[in-house]
Chain length 430, copies 2
């Protein structure tokens, strides 16, 4: 088929009518499907079921350093958990602290702490400064943006490319001392699925920032979430930052939420010894410690890095299949000039750019046919997509059959909205 | 024996020499004992061991409302957990939210949120006000005091009495609009073990506060921690506050840390619907949700309030015995005029007031003989006991035999320090 833009008035109208009829058929089916949620299907959760019933007798509740994990003690994580998780991520265990069930909470804590007490390099607590700004790579993760939004930062958008944020734009923005940081999901970025190139990591690590306390919030949420053995490779940002004397710039996060159970796992925060030292008294005021029993449970379940790798490959089979279904469906949009999408090697999302000005329309069509999409604009600061074109596709939650059906309706809706827009613009309908 | 103060010079010197010789004997034994830590002994932890291995198969991981607890979802706690915990504490489930493994973290979160965003009734975020103050009931819980200290409040001490804080002093202090709140452990207060009287609760609930956003941090940490069926009764502060239109004043906390596993349990935050509504968007920015699996595990383990009650009575047997050992030991100080102590009906601590000006000396004597006490002053703001007299005794952690020995040395050290002080003051020694 030709590009929609190249169709004649009659061809386009015919196509529109055809699509519309097909759409009405789907609508009659009163479906209820969900492509909005970046959460695992129960098949994936079942892979981790063994974690739930790890044998925990009295004697085996002891940490390697003799601490009874059933009792108070240990603020920053079991030493063996630090070692294990550091090994998985290729980090220095001395940089690692283990948190609770939510890395998002660690990010929120980290930034509220910066607001109230400042960070290494701050002249005063951030809440005593006016007009602070924060860089958001778009499309990106709404919950990241929300944290900096509620804390009162002005959110500045920078375009995501195949190799990471548009670094020319980032380097320009950080010349402003009011710009205090940037959100990054460096591997299988939410939602594009792209991984930052070596050059991008190096530029982030080395760039000159006007703010003496600029921070990179490095959320490596999909660090081990490859679909196969040839996953994307990400440079270790600490290694790079160290070369330029910028290692205090990095606040590194990860969690097992999409390894074992979302909201029932273990999170990680890594930073330079200088940063950890500055944070220590505030962390000590905040809690006596995180849940060590769950740390121990995870350790007993995985035992070593190889088992975790095997576990991820099992998940990859399930998730990869879901991605294949979506990509196969989207393929029928090829050549029509109505959409572009990413083909990630891992992670949880596909980013779909439809014809500018039609994303909301697609969302409404989908809703009309009983399919929930992530709200348009959610991937942008303040929930506003300036071009009204980006849709975040989350393939993991529905069953294979539901997913296939939902993508059929998605493809139909994308075409329908594009045809309608073109007809409108040329004033064929009204 | 007579009061030390009534002894003649010769009698006192003889007593001192006797004590000193006895002390040297203990010192020779190179002991290593610990009375400092308000944490359970492994015997107590063993009582909850069944919680560790609650059967959790795929099907039973569902919440009553159909939510798979292994997955994301539910910000403020499983409905059945809210209901269960509300029932245990006599609260309205609509006021209840369930948190993570640490109620201290919930308190820190609550106050950092107040700093950054204010609370219901605030004219602006607290961090934008100058010279804020906070009431600390002394002796009290060091970790409470620490939170308000790091947040920059000036800490004001109010004396703890047998019936709760000295309410005349509290009512006077809250006339100052800079005074934003008060820390309370209303039942089996840490460390005195006293419970607030009905009148105290009513006065706290009804008092006129100059600050429109005054808050009572009501840490009901020992709500169900009676030593027998005749435990202290505490009025429901929400019921009282409602009568005076002050229910927004209450931030209520609790946790299972001293019911099941410290740092491996479930915490609770309760507040008026107005407060919960104001907090909701910030809580939503902070986390996707707390660990629902651990909530479910606790529910499956306890099943109902009666089982929890029976569980607490089992713990009470172990803890009550420890308290009896300490109180029997302290009894030999009776009539000497060198110490006063509390005899709680529950909780985790005994508060020991030694002769003013000798607490540090007692601490040093204990240390010299190999017994660790909670640092003197820890129960006061900024770690300073103005009278140098209060010691917090934590009986739960040592074994019965160790505890008995530690209390012998404690009694000896209290006497020794008192005798030494009296001799010094009368210039008998130097």
């Amino acid at each position: 088929m030709k590009k929609y833009a190249d169709l004649t008035k009659e061809e386009l109208r015919a196509e529109y009518e055809l699509l519309k009829n097909k759409y009405e058929e789907y609508k009659m089916r009163n479906l209820s499907l969900d492509l909005s949620r970046g959460k695992p299907n129960s098949d994936q959760l079942d892979v981790s079921q063994g974690l739930m019933n790890v044998e925990m007798d009295k004697e085996s509740c002891k940490s390697l350093n003799g601490v009874d994990c059933r009792n108070y003690g240990i603020l920053d994580g079991l030493p063996e958990m630090k070692k294990f998780y550091a090994d998985v991520l290729g980090l220095d265990p001395d940089y690692v602290t283990i948190g609770g069930n939510s890395s998002l909470q660690l990010m929120y804590d980290t930034l509220t702490r910066a607001m109230l007490f400042g960070v290494v390099g701050s002249l005063k607590p951030w809440c005593q400064e006016q007009g602070l700004k924060w860089i958001c790579v778009v499309p990106g993760y709404d919950r990241h943006f929300k944290i900096t939004e509620v804390l009162g930062f002005e959110l500045l958008s920078v375009r995501m490319t195949e190799s990471g944020p548009d670094m020319d734009a980032v380097e320009e923005l950080v010349k402003d001392p009011k710009v205090k940081g940037i959100w990054c999901v460096p591997k299988y970025s939410n939602p594009t699925g792209n991984t930052y190139s070596d050059e991008t990591v190096r530029r982030l690590a080395s760039m000159k920032c006007a703010a003496p306390d600029f921070r990179i919030m490095w959320d490596n949420a999909y660090a081990v979430h490859d679909f196969n053995e040839n996953g994307d490779k990400l440079l270790n940002i600490f290694d790079e930052a160290k070369k330029y004397g910028n290692e205090d710039r990095i606040f590194y996060f990860s969690s097992t939420s999409k390894i074992t159970f979302p909201g029932g796992g273990v999170s990680l925060f890594a930073a330079s010894p200088k940063n950890l030292k500055q944070i220590s008294p505030y962390l000590g005021a905040q809690t006596i410690g995180y849940d060590k029993i769950n740390q121990l449970r995870h350790l007993k379940y995985f035992k070593n890095k190889d088992n975790l790798h095997a576990h991820m490959m099992e998940l990859a089979k399930l998730i990869g299949k879901k991605f294949d279904i979506v990509l196969a469906g989207l393929d029928s949009l090829s050549g029509l000039g109505v959409a572009q999408w990413t083909k990630p090697n891992g992670g949880y999302f596909i980013s779909l750019d439809v014809m500018p000005g039609t994303a909301k329309m697609v969302f409404e069509y989908m809703k009309g046919a009983g399919v929930v999409l992530t709200p348009v604009g959610a991937t942008f600061p303040y929930g506003k997509d300036p071009e009204d074109k980006n849709l975040r596709i989350a393939p993991t939650y529905p069953t294979d059959a539901d997913l296939k059906l939902a993508v059929e309706i998605l493809v139909l809706s994308v075409k329908l909205a594009a045809a309608q827009k073109l007809l409108c613009e040329k004033k064929f309908i009204h």
